[in-house]
Amino acid sequence: MKTIVLENQKSPIFIYREADRCLLCYDPPCTRNCPAHIDIPGFIYHIRSGNFEAAYRKIKSANPFADTCGYVCPDENLCQKECIRGLIDEPIRIRELHSYVTETLGYRDVIEPVRLKGKKVAIVGAGPAGITAALKLIESGYEVHIFDRNGIGGIPSAEIPLGRLPSEAVQRDIMALKRPGIKVYDGKEIKSLTELEGYDAVLLAFGLVERDLKIPGADLPGVIGPKELLRSAREEKTDFSGKRAVVIGGGNVALDSAYVLKEKGAHVLIAYRRELKYAPSWTKERVLTFLKGVEFLYLVSPTEILGRDRVEGVRFVRMRLEKADESGRPRAVPIEGSQFVIEADVVVPAIGETAPPYFPEVRRDERGFILVDEKGRTSKEGVFAAGDLTGEGGTVVEAVTQGKRAAHAIAEYLGRSS
């Protein structure tokens, strides 16, 4: 990667020049590497000719969460990774181009109304995967009821820090749900198929739950899960001024947690058991967190959370790296006698997530994720799954892609069974 973009370029001159740089490649690797397969040279050609309406339609119909993705897509790992222009100078800044289009045009409806075919699909989970599937299903003429216990929008509207993703962007993505044929039941938790009698198909698209930190003291007050932290950080009144916070983990959730803690006034330290280069996080998020003033500590693992009535500190042990484990990364092993204590008022364990144990009717893999085949079908007929709970992906755009895939499979299934 040659350029790290910390803030979207919004100058029209930049946008036109960038559109002009695109080589409009044949069989373009950018489109291949975009999980949602946006026709990238296609929409860039529309920008060049000043045909923003057509650009918008191309982008938004391929990726209903394009407004969100315009901020949070890890472009350097996806569309921009193998951009041919990068072989001449710099990859085209594709994400900012499509963000510019969706942002300048504001919300437009790109869905063509069709006659409903009289069948009904239940979708559990109104995040990017569920919403995308709902929109694609309505385009095929199927009525949708979508349920979410937390409201609409999933991670983008609740857990991504506002500094990284303006809420207006998510709002524009969600707006498409308001249409005849889609009913939204927010605040409603569904945990098993028996609650969904009378639907012709079911799509599971709910979010994950955190893995627990299994060390002594993990239940002390002051230990806060990253989901709870990230949600509360969106509220004005949340305040961590003067608090010493330790975030445990090396992924993007750990970085986001550190980011919002810092934003809310805490002194923040991220503690990770391997070295930076093995952390499952994106360069841009690391840079953003680093620039916020978060401190990093590598090759350490917590052994105990200390404190009587609430958190007072964390006992760590130093780690060293050994041969690669099944994840391809070196295994971290404790160095005996290297314990030390760091004082802390807040501890955020961001050590991974798994699917909640709902819907016992469908089979899961050994890590607890819901098993799906290449079309997004679960082990139970008529039940499909998409999004983080399949254990694949983990980005908004990948959830969108799984939502599209599942909607396709559901339409195929319902078409056949009629």
Binding site: L23, C25, Y26, I88
Partner: protein, 396 residues
């Protein structure tokens, strides 16, 4: 020193001068141009007192693509200053800048007008006279909107009037490229007795239309008019015009129309221009470009072993043939350097849809030319984004 040249018996410190335009229409602006290093200037076209010059504003509109300004169009007229004022300025400049070449541009509507203009300006100290035969205003009673230089007869007649009125300074005739046969006009200039030709001028054009308001550019309160197109877009036309005049009349030429940098100027010279006038380039970037023009030309002369700018003049003419019939007929094939190729597939698309379906493009993102199908048109080479990646090979 090395850049010094001579044109129509007049010494130029370098071959770059300012063409007739707003830059040469004010004393203080001209002074700065000379101080910056320009060898001379054609003062904006003047006329006899009483001539009406009613300019409508805005009078400029450009043609742009992303960041690049491709050309300029104007609906300007001649100078609002009449000959008395211009003569006064020439006297002042003559004293302040004895080394600079002062060319007076004129436009009249009758024999009397043309001749009085020449006399006054020669007396004031002008080094040369340039007659604007390409202003739609000065048509000596022919159809309105028609330019003098669109009629061979009128061109010859008026040229002879001007030539007979001057005492000793050279006379240039500034023509228009907007004619069926430029050689016919140039021959008329020659028969009229002029010393050289200024080739050529802006080209009549419609600069574009605001498709939402339906009004063409530049918009003058809901109306517009055809503009004179100048700058990069017209360079290829100017090159052809200069080449034809140089080849068929052998007349000394001052080049104007689309020169933006020293490379363009060299090209003008290679087909027959002795000196080159700059207008749009200065309007876009200011007088400062003269530094690059001078050092660029020096670099070129050193690299090519030319001793004087004169050595460059006309050097490419022998490489231009009269007609396509004279071109050698050889087999040509496209050759792609896969080491340089970045795999964009642009050559494949262009050859597929605009050529001869002679390129294959596989999953490995490598283009391959099918020799039996390739006719050698060079479209692929022209669209390839990597310089030097595709070349055309002449076989047999």
């Amino acid at each position: 020193m090395k850049l010094e040249t001579e044109f129509l018996g007049v010494k130029f410190e370098n071959p770059f001068i300012l063409g007739a335009a707003p830059s040469t229409d004010e004393l203080d602006i001209l002074r700065r141009g000379f101080e910056a290093g320009w060898a001379g200037a054609v003062l904006k076209t003047t006329s006899v007192p009483g001539t009406r010059v009613d300019i409508a504003y805005p009078m400029l509109a450009s043609m742009r693509e992303a960041d690049s300004k491709l050309s300029l169009g104007n609906i300007d007229l001649i100078s609002v200053y009449h000959v008395d004022e211009v003569a006064r300025r020439i006297e002042i400049l003559r004293k302040e800048f004895p080394e600079k070449v002062l060319i007076a541009s004129i436009m009249g509507a009758s024999r009397k007008e043309w001749q009085s203009l020449v006399k006054i300006l020669e007396e004031a100290g002008a080094d040369m006279i340039e007659c604007s035969f390409s202003c739609p205003q000065g048509n000596i009673g022919e159809e309105p909107g028609r330019m003098l230089a669109q009629s061979a007869q009128a061109t010859e007649l008026v040229t002879s009037w001007v030539v007979s009125a001057r005492k000793k300074i050279p006379v240039l005739i500034k023509i228009t490229p907007q004619v069926t046969d430029i050689v016919e006009i140039a021959m008329a200039v020659k028969r009229g007795g002029a010393d050289g030709i200024t080739a050529s001028n802006t080209i009549p054009a419609l600069m574009g239309i605001d498709i939402w308001s339906l009004v063409p550019n530049p918009p003058v309160d809901g109306k517009s008019a055809y503009s004179g197109l100048s700058g990069p877009a017209i360079k290829p036309i100017t090159l052809r015009v200069i080449a034809e005049i140089a080849r068929y009349t052998g007349m000394p030429i001052a080049g104007t129309g689309g020169a933006m940098n020293w490379r363009d100027a060299v090209e003008f010279m290679l087909v027959g221009a002795h000196i080159v006038q700059f207008v749009t380039a200065v309007m876009f970037h200011g007088f400062r470009i003269i530094d690059d023009l001078k050092s660029g030309l020096l670099y070129y002369m050193d690299r090519m072993g030319f001793e004087s700018p004169k050595d460059i003049v006309g050097k490419s003419l022998e490489h231009i043939v009269w007609s396509y019939d004279e071109l050698p007929l050889k087999k040509v094939k496209s050759r792609i350097d896969l080491e340089k190729c970045i795999g964009c597939g642009d050559c494949y698309i262009s050859c597929r849809d605009g050529g001869h379906m002679a390129i294959e493009f596989g999953d490995d993102r490598k283009p391959r030319v099918i020799d039996e199908k390739c006719v050698g048109c060079a479209l692929c080479k022209e669209v390839c984004p990597v310089p030097g990646c595709i070349r055309m090979e002449t076989i047999d």
